[in-house]
């Protein structure tokens, strides 16, 4: 029961819980057990939510009407993250959940690429700001949206790729 409540308390904050996350691994493992997943899903359905989980990530969803502004926010947020992930994939084509990315190495590879499409995407995402700031903002955006997680609180350079990236993979696959 305690773990069930703990899971709900985390999920209710809009967090995508990934099995590769060091912060939420315990909850993700708990929910990866079919019995626990079904029990929490059955319960949250009674209060109007749904527990969604696949490919190592879990989140809460709720049905409801959206106004125009809400739709715009919802759609735009997804698009920004898809573009941000595509930048990461352009630099590291083999990137997978659990891999580690160093911001410094990423910056070196990014500069080496000299690819116009990368610059266009950065500008679309963050406007006209300097390169260093752009890359910092990119990592911040992906961290805020549970795609990347700081590897260690004392290491400001290393990030772990979380399973939540698979959520966007699924959307991209569905789009074609």
């Amino acid at each position: 029961m305690e773990m069930m409540i703990k899971s709900f308390e985390v999920l209710m904050k809009g967090i995508i819980v990934s099995i590769s996350s060091s912060k939420y691994r315990e909850i993700a493992h708990f929910l990866s057990i079919e019995e626990h997943f079904e029990e929490l899903d059955d319960t949250v359905q009674k209060i109007g939510y749904r527990l969604i989980g696949e490919n190592g990530y879990y989140y809460l969803a709720k049905t409801g009407r959206l106004d125009k502004e809400e739709i715009t926010n919802f759609v735009s947020s997804h698009k920004r993250i898809i573009v941000a992930i595509s930048i990461i994939k352009q630099i590291y084509p083999l990137i997978s959940p659990n891999d580690t990315i160093k911001q410094t190495s990423f910056t070196i590879e990014f500069n080496k690429k000299e690819d116009e499409t990368l610059l266009d995407k950065m500008e679309w995402l963050f406007g006209d700001i300097d390169r260093k700031k752009e890359i910092e903002e990119l990592f911040k955006l992906l961290e805020k949206n549970y795609i990347l997680e700081k590897f260690d609180i004392n290491d400001k350079d290393s990030y772990r790729v979380l399973n939540a990236v698979n959520y966007y993979v699924k959307i991209v696959e569905s789009a074609f």
Binding site: D42, E70, D120
Partner: protein, 354 residues
Amino acid sequence: MTHIELIEQLYRYRDIIDRGYKEGELDSVPKPLQESTLFIKVGSKYRLNRSYISFVNFALDRVDYTVIFGDYEEEHRQIIINKQRYEDTKKIQYHQKVIDLINDIYLKFYYRDSQINSALKSLQRQDNEELDILIESANDILKQIREVVEANSKIANTFTQLKSVDIEFKKVLDELDNDFFKFLKNISYYIDRLNKFIIQTQTKRRLNRLFMQLSADILSENDTYLDEILMQYREGLYHTVKRYKNQIKVLPTEDDLPLLKRSLKSLRLLKPKREKANTILPTPQVKELNLIDIKSIVASLKTGCDDLYIYLLNHDIVKDENEAFLIYLHLISYPNVSFERTFNRYNVRITKWR
């Protein structure tokens, strides 16, 4: 030159040798390096001796994709000749020669095993390599491993014959049996790993292309199809919203907690306890191939089949997937097989039997 003098030379010219290793070729090198054949003149440039590069790559676990797997043709030929001479004359020299050749082949097995392992590690380390090149390299290695499987099968037959020729040969081979078995087992593991790597990389390449296409469409605002998908499935996608200003408030709040606890309690009272899901994966068992009646499987294949692995999976005497894969590895060294470029649903290369 003595060995210690060579080591000293390597140290004295370490910077030039390092440059030769990294850059591939140099315009000029000091005379001692030419005389010791550490550098060979190719056209107008100097290149490091291939044997030195192989040693360094091996020692540094940096075998590249062009790794030379090699075969045992020469050793195999020599073993057959010397075995025959020993049988004819019973001379100790031929006896010793056969034992030396067995040890040579053992070392080749050992180095090749390390080379393949390093090549696979090297492939998987290439996090910013073009995926097309990676897939091509992996396919090349897979092809070379297939040749290795054929060579292994030939050597295994010869070793079996040797055991019956002389008690000493049998003793030496029996001592090496475990290691040989380990190398053979590793081959099936490498093939499996390569097949998986190729499939995963192909999937990633497809996905990356979709990501690039979609983000290009987003930037050029030709993305109404994405809007439609997001709106169509929005009920399952609401997680992105947060309780910030101007954002959608569809997430639960603290007020929902007591409700959740009550629901959880009532649900537990009403529902019978489910069986706990078994999350422990079964450990694959390695089966001894000689316990399986290969002859009858080969006989049953006389009408041919379009996918050998699936044929084996459905065969009456094959117990499970592990056994099917072991037999598959054994049978692909037969001349009756031809490999397709595609893979079946078990990620095993489609192999026809004719």
